[in-house]
Symmetry: C2
Subunit: 263 residues, 2 copies
């Protein structure tokens, strides 16, 4: 993997296009932004865009393609979202019907692709500052929880926020807030610090998605809005068709993490 | 006006609803956010929302109403955008056809209202920090210029950015950047500092909109993206109907300026 960490986004996307590897993209193209994918028909795109606009913490938009175009012009001009993600999931009427390495067969003139910020960017910033990221230390998936925090509804879309959790030593909690506040385009500052029950989480050791991680004595759980939220919410309306990346298999953008920093 | 400065937003909106005054709202409800209004039919709303999302500096969205609803639920729950702005402009097929104190006669079930951040919020922050705001000192309108900076197009909408200019003493330019960077929801950091020619402005003393202001020796012109941009861009497609506030006659929100601060 270390060689993939040093590759440029464009090279990696070409390798992915050619199916030279089908792997989760964590750690690839160090310093560059990776994005979550959600493709919906134009008929749903307004509600989806408005939902994201009203809920910027769980749904930070990096790019929206023109109707029928698979090119994310702002974050990777020239790229083709039909081929340059290692693995996709296709949902039809809310049911997962295929997991594929390209979506050429599913593409239509009325589809709109959304790229949403992912936590890799702020996790890099936390690690660069010497703060722990437990699920990376433990080599597992980040723990994610369904909360009782209602998202602001938009048209057909409504639902509760999903959050991810990273334990921080008490002395580093403030620093974690400061560091992630610089990155509003990738979930930004935490949504909650401390007692999980306050946001409707019953058992911190039993995440709804991902894996549980160790919380050491003296550590405080810190919760960030999670990019799983928009996909989960969109799925509740059972769109005729919706295509996402497979978990962990993200789109690698040409923009750098630091370009997303607000300051 | 000083008594209006101390009034609560809700009281002022009720007075406006009852036509107790028809005045520009600058200085009213001190500390509270004021917003620009743009109402378009649902058929144009997706492109308008996407244009705003792609151009957040000139088009910072504060709220978007549900289709057919005149209530800006997030910034002023219970308010009615048909009555609670002192003066409106109605454009039909790109032509100004009416200036009215309420828009009940024009309201339709397919209209969507956008409230966009305005510069009053960051100007308060500049003044609070002791920085000059020349057009307020000179009691005139802010100078605005059409630049050669292309906005990112979205569907039917494309055009160039309009900027406003405030001269700053050279020693205060950095501070002006810092202060306004805290407020990305109301145009945020400047888009340009210094030589007007770099962004296509020929004569700084001849603004395209508003009034010219004095630039003292040793002062640097500082340019911010301006909320006139989205209205100007939307007008180029000559929507069947589009309704805006009359210049300076803004919507007074229930949220405070400081609630919009990113940090």
């Amino acid at each position: 993997m270390s060689s993939l960490a040093e590759r440029q986004p464009r090279e990696l996307r070409e390798m992915i296009h050619n199916n030279e590897f089908i792997l989760p993209t964590a750690g690839m193209a160090k310093g560059y932004v990776q994005g979550n994918l959600a493709i919906v028909p134009k008929a749903l795109a307004y509600d989806f865009l408005l939902f994201a606009q009203r809920n910027p913490k769980p749904c930070p938009i990096l790019d929206v393609t023109d109707v029928g175009s698979p090119e994310p012009k702002r974050v990777a001009p020239g790229a083709d979202l039909r081929f340059e993600i290692p693995k996709y999931r296709v949902y039809q009427n809310g049911v997962l019907t295929a997991e594929v390495t390209d979506i050429a067969a599913y593409w239509r003139d009325d589809l709109v692709a959304f790229l949403l910020g992912c936590s890799f960017t702020f996790e890099s910033a936390l690690l660069n500052a010497g703060l722990p990221v437990r699920h990376i230390e433990q080599n597992c998936n980040v723990p994610m929880y369904l909360t009782d925090i209602d998202c602001v509804p938009a048209g057909a879309f409504h639902g509760r926020m999903v959050v991810s959790m990273r334990p921080m030593p008490a002395s580093q909690v403030v620093r974690a807030v400061q560091i992630t506040s610089r990155f509003p385009a990738v979930h930004g500052a935490p949504v909650h610090i401390g007692d999980p029950a306050v946001i409707g989480i019953r058992d911190i050791m039993k995440p709804d998605f991902g894996d549980s991680v160790t919380i050491h004595p003296g550590e405080t759980p810190v919760f960030w809005a999670c990019g799983v939220t928009p996909q989960a919410v969109a799925m509740t309306v059972k769109p005729e068709i919706m295509i996402t990346h497979s978990p962990g298999h993200m789109f690698i953008c040409d923009i750098r993490d630091e370009e997303l920093a607000a300051l």
